[in-house]
């Protein structure tokens, strides 16, 4: 079992620069994933993740540990995403080819060609629907649905009350559902339980 984030941060602050390498190895994938899903571009995900770690490297000595290292790192990455969005005036780039090609990488049983096509199409539509969300809802959806953060963690890193996070999540989900249903992707329940 490796050292915890807190231990690595302390080691770095005590002068062990290589501790940062462990931290970046540990979190690079997650941060790239979050940026990719917010901005929709692989290249930007790599670039901004690199920028985020560079910023973190420069300011980690003054990190007081008031929140978890990962929350702090996500905060840096989100700010970079927001800057990038402002620069391109809210335009989201969704690499549809990627979304389609990566939709279903693994299946427990051999999927038929038709199943693969359907799965890719579904992934592409989901990516487009997420990209169409307002920025604040997209951030919460990505952090909750794809990064698996708790509501409390999201609330801390976005500096919002937990109730606001849940409201944004709920609205985002409702909007996604509407978008996907309009797009012909079934997301409505097939069976509704009738009152007893």
């Amino acid at each position: 079992m490796g050292a915890s984030d807190e231990e690595l941060v302390s080691a770095f602050q005590a002068g062990d620069i290589s501790a940062f390498d462990d931290l970046s190895r540990r979190w690079n994938g997650k941060i790239q994933g979050a940026i990719y899903r917010i901005l929709g571009s692989e290249e930007e995900a790599r670039d901004l993740a690199q920028d985020a770690f560079l910023k973190a490297f420069r300011s980690l000595r003054s990190f007081k540990g008031e929140c978890r290292f990962s929350s702090w790192l996500y905060q840096i990455a989100l700010n970079l995403c927001r800057d990038r969005m402002r620069r391109r005036r809210g335009r989201i780039l969704v690499s549809l080819d990627d979304a389609a090609a990566e939709g279903h990488a693994t299946e427990p049983r051999g999927p038929s060609a038709l199943e693969l096509v359907e799965a890719n199409d579904r992934a592409r539509r989901v990516a487009t629907a997420v990209a169409a969300l307002p920025e604040e809802q997209r951030e919460v959806i990505v952090l909750k649905e794809y990064q698996g953060l708790t509501f409390l963690e999201i609330a801390q890193l976005l500096e919002l009350p937990t109730s606001t996070v849940k409201t944004r999540l709920y609205r985002g989900l409702a909007q996604l559902r509407e978008h996907l249903e309009r797009d012909g992707l079934r997301a409505a329940p097939t069976v509704a339980v009738s009152p007893s």
Binding site: I17, A101, E102, G103, R122, V126, I141
Partner: protein, 203 residues
């Protein structure tokens, strides 16, 4: 539409963050509310749809490489421990206990020394490579900023040129219009002079 009072419970249950009381409360409500029951099913289906959007292979590879490195390090540690255990098992049964302890002690000391040297060397190398890596990142970032600046300047220059051409075209059009107006005025004056001349001659 979900009943407002149960919305937070629904979200908590959906993401596995609800306490037992909230889960029970929602379950009880859903059993009597068709709308909320349908809403819950729809949200579950939606979450399943969202899961189909996975990361591109290149980004997945990044994290798998890191996981691979961690697994390799763990495997190396296991092999090291196995090797140490086997080494102890193969010690000659005829040797005295004290001699075995001494040999073991000397071997461990040698291992510790060599590990210490290796760690010191690796640490220096890691520091140097990390700094080189950071330098490289800074350079890449600066190059990117320079490109963005160049692109912005190029945009600005193109915009200024377009604006200049537009202004020139407007000035030119204005002058043509004034020319036209002056020409009309002169023609009208000439015409009036002609009438006056003719009238004076008629008299």
């Amino acid at each position: 539409m979900v009943c407002t009072n149960f919305r937070d419970d629904m979200i908590d249950v959906l993401y596995g963050e609800a306490g037992t009381e909230a889960a029970r409360r929602l379950e009880q409500h859903v059993s009597t509310c068709a709308d909320c029951s349908a809403e819950r099913a729809a949200l579950k289906a939606l979450r399943a749809d969202l899961k189909t959007w996975t990361l591109p292979a290149s980004l997945r590879r990044t994290s798998e490489t890191h996981r691979g490195r961690t697994l390799a390090a763990a495997a190396a540690l296991v092999l090291l421990l196995l090797g140490a255990a086997l080494g102890r098992g193969l010690t000659s049964p005829g040797a005295s206990l004290e001699a075995r302890f001494r040999a073991e002690e000397a071997r461990r000391q040698a291992e510790i020394d060599s590990l210490r040297n290796a760690v010191a060397a690796a640490s220096q190398r890691d520091d140097a490579s990390l700094l080189a890596h950071v330098d490289e990142r800074i350079r890449a970032s600066e190059a990117r900023q320079a490109l963005l600046l160049a692109a912005s300047l190029s945009d600005l220059s193109a915009h200024s040129e377009a604006q200049r051409r537009y202004d020139l075209a407007r000035v030119s059009a204005g002058l043509s219009y004034l020319d036209g107006r002056a020409g009309q005025q002169a023609a009208r004056t000439t015409e009036l002079m002609g009438y006056l001349l003719q009238a004076s001659q008629d008299k």
